[in-house]
């Protein structure tokens, strides 16, 4: 039953009592998500954090429309999510660019699928390449770009669709530490410039504290979400500052306290 409570008019995304259970012949039932309630307002930057196997990617895949919940509701703009589409654009960890197209064409192909006229496609693609700082790489084949540059193309491709939510699944996991630090700053800049609504999945505390307005923690086999932390630290945030370290510690404790509880439950 959908609840009758008054809805936050700003809420762009809502998950209500979301369940996801995988059934396999040998492992039986595996309940990955249980009673998840989650809401996001327009323009918010939320980081989903948790250890491997906590179900954060499953939740992201349900929101993206690649997976379906077994029970509960997932709504975008008040409408149930039914399959993938450009309103929930995803940035994948492996970039997933089409290697037979150049950088500009990789962005245009998405617009073409939206049946945008050719001239407008090119103009839009170049505008978004400019936004991610790749204007001069427009005609280069994507396999000749570095990992960081490829991920920029992937971000531009997703943003060019003007999605209601931008989903990022550990997008910088394959980059080295220096490229990652640059991409963090870039992402904050791009987010501010576009006012995009972003869900960012990671298992890095530093990434979460640097990027998130709100960090939502998940742990395996937990009912609902484990905890939530609002981060009001001013930007740009300095990962080497004591304030930053303090927030990181609070987040770490929030996640691990649940993990140890679980170990205790297991030991019984």
């Amino acid at each position: 039953m959908p609840s009758n409570e008054t809805r936050d008019s700003d809420a762009i995304l809502r998950c209500e009592r979301l369940d996801r259970t995988f059934v396999s012949r040998d492992a039986g039932e595996n309940r990955v998500l249980q009673d998840i309630n989650f809401e996001m307002r327009k323009g918010e930057f939320v980081v989903l954090i948790g250890p491997s196997g906590c179900g954060k990617s499953t939740l992201l895949n349900i929101i993206a429309g690649f997976d379906r919940q077994t029970a509960g509701l997932a709504l975008i703009d008040g409408r149930p999510i039914a399959g993938p589409g450009p309103d929930k654009a995803m940035v994948f960890q492996d970039y997933a660019l089409l290697p037979w197209l150049n950088a500009r064409e990789n962005i245009e192909i998405g617009l073409k699928m939206q049946r945008m006229p050719a001239a407008q496609r090119t103009e839009t693609a170049l505008r978004f390449l400019e936004l991610v700082g790749l204007a001069e790489a427009a005609e280069r084949p994507v396999y000749k770009l570095s990992g960081g540059m490829q991920q920029r193309v992937s971000i531009a491709r997703a943003l060019a669709l003007e999605p209601k939510v931008l989903l990022m699944d550990e997008p910088f996991g394959a980059l080295d530490a220096f490229q990652r630090a640059i991409m963090h700053k870039e992402l904050v800049r791009i987010w501010r410039a576009t006012q995009a609504t972003i869900i960012f999945v990671t298992h890095s505390l530093e990434e979460a504290v640097f990027l998130g307005e709100r960090v939502v923690a998940m742990t395996p086999r937990a009912v609902g979400l484990t905890g939530e932390l609002r981060i009001d630290m001013p930007r740009p945030r300095d990962p080497l500052s004591p304030e930053f370290a303090a927030v990181k510690r609070r987040l770490f404790e929030m996640i691990t306290s649940h993990l140890t509880e679980e170990v205790a439950v297991f030991a019984e």
């Binding site: 399959g83 993938p84 995803m90 994948f92 089409l98 290697p99 037979w100 699928m113 396999y143």
Partner: protein
């Protein structure tokens, strides 16, 4: 303080680094760049010498194993001799044309059918369940076993030969197309769906380009099989072409022509494979580059 000493330490190591020899890439000499090609000729050259030696030593009667020179002379006469002389003189071009057109037509049919059947079979689960078992039941039947049926339905001649070539090269093409479409990079298909592509557009813009490397594997295998089957067809049921010449020369004991025909077949197979590889290297430039970059 500590900064200063670190600085000093850096400076202390600097001269050592500067003293290290600077390696420059010397331009390879002409001889060095030709070396691989020359090396490739060593074994064939040795083989020719061995062949010539065996003939000269009289191990086999010269009528059964002619010397390389006799074969070369026969090949030259076959290619450039005056047709008025009779025999095989000057009939090579005709033979190549006769076999070549059968191969081309049969292969073209196999390519069209293989891709046309392979794509939907790989893309749709229903089609897969319908078509897959049938293909895998037919595939183990050697194409040569189809010869009697082919003779009944298509008779002796052009049609029967084209049928056998098409049938034989159809299987590698269709199987590799199915695999290519089915195995198309999953995250690229996911991207296509995310970008809003469905049905034909998903197939055309995302799945098909991703499947092309596998399709080309099938096309190359199919071309190899085409040249095998044209010879079978021509030996069994056709009165022209390289395969026919080969069998005809055998029945007259002209082993010089037999061997010349074998060499011509090798060259034809090699050249047609090169043509496919050339097309592939243009169409799949990205694929080659991606694999090179992945190795780095």
């Amino acid at each position: 303080m500590s900064m200063k000493s670190a600085d000093a330490a850096l400076r202390a190591t600097a001269p050592a680094r500067a003293a290290a020899p600077v390696r420059t890439l010397a331009r390879p000499s002409l001889l060095a760049s030709l070396a691989p090609a020359l090396l490739g000729l060593v074994v064939p050259g040795a083989f020719l010498v061995l062949w010539w030696g065996v003939v000269a030593a009289g191990v086999f009667p010269p009528s059964v194993l002619p010397s390389p020179f006799t074969v070369a002379a026969a090949a030259f006469d076959w290619a450039f001799g005056d047709p008025q002389n009779g025999g095989y003189s000057g009939t090579l071009a005709q033979a190549i044309w006769a076999s070549g057109q059968r191969v081309l037509l049969g292969y073209a049919i196999a390519m069209v059918l293989g891709v046309a059947i392979g794509v939907p079979t790989g893309a749709s689960r229903l089609m897969g369940h319908l078509v897959d078992p049938f293909i895998h039941l037919l595939r183990p039947i050697p194409v040569t076993a189809w010869v009697p049926l082919s003779l009944v339905f298509f008779g002796f001649g052009f049609k029967g030969a084209v049928f056998l070539v098409a049938l034989g090269s159809f299987f590698p093409i269709v199987v590799n197309t199915i695999e290519g479409v089915r195995g198309a990079n999953r995250s690229l298909v996911k991207v296509g769906r995310m970008l809003g592509a469905r049905g034909w557009r998903l197939l055309w813009y995302f799945i098909l380009p991703a499947s092309l490397p596998s399709v080309f594997v099938g096309l190359r295998l199919g071309m190899g099989i085409s040249w095998e089957l044209i010879i079978v067809a021509e030996m069994m049921s056709v009165k022209s072409g390289i395969g026919y010449t080969l069998l005809d020369a055998y029945s007259f004991g002209r082993f010089d022509v037999v061997i010349a025909a074998m060499i011509v077949l090798g060259v034809m197979g090699f050249l047609s494979d090169r043509v496919i590889v050339a097309v592939q290297s243009v169409a799949l430039r990205w694929h080659r580059e991606v694999s090179i970059h992945a190795e780095q």
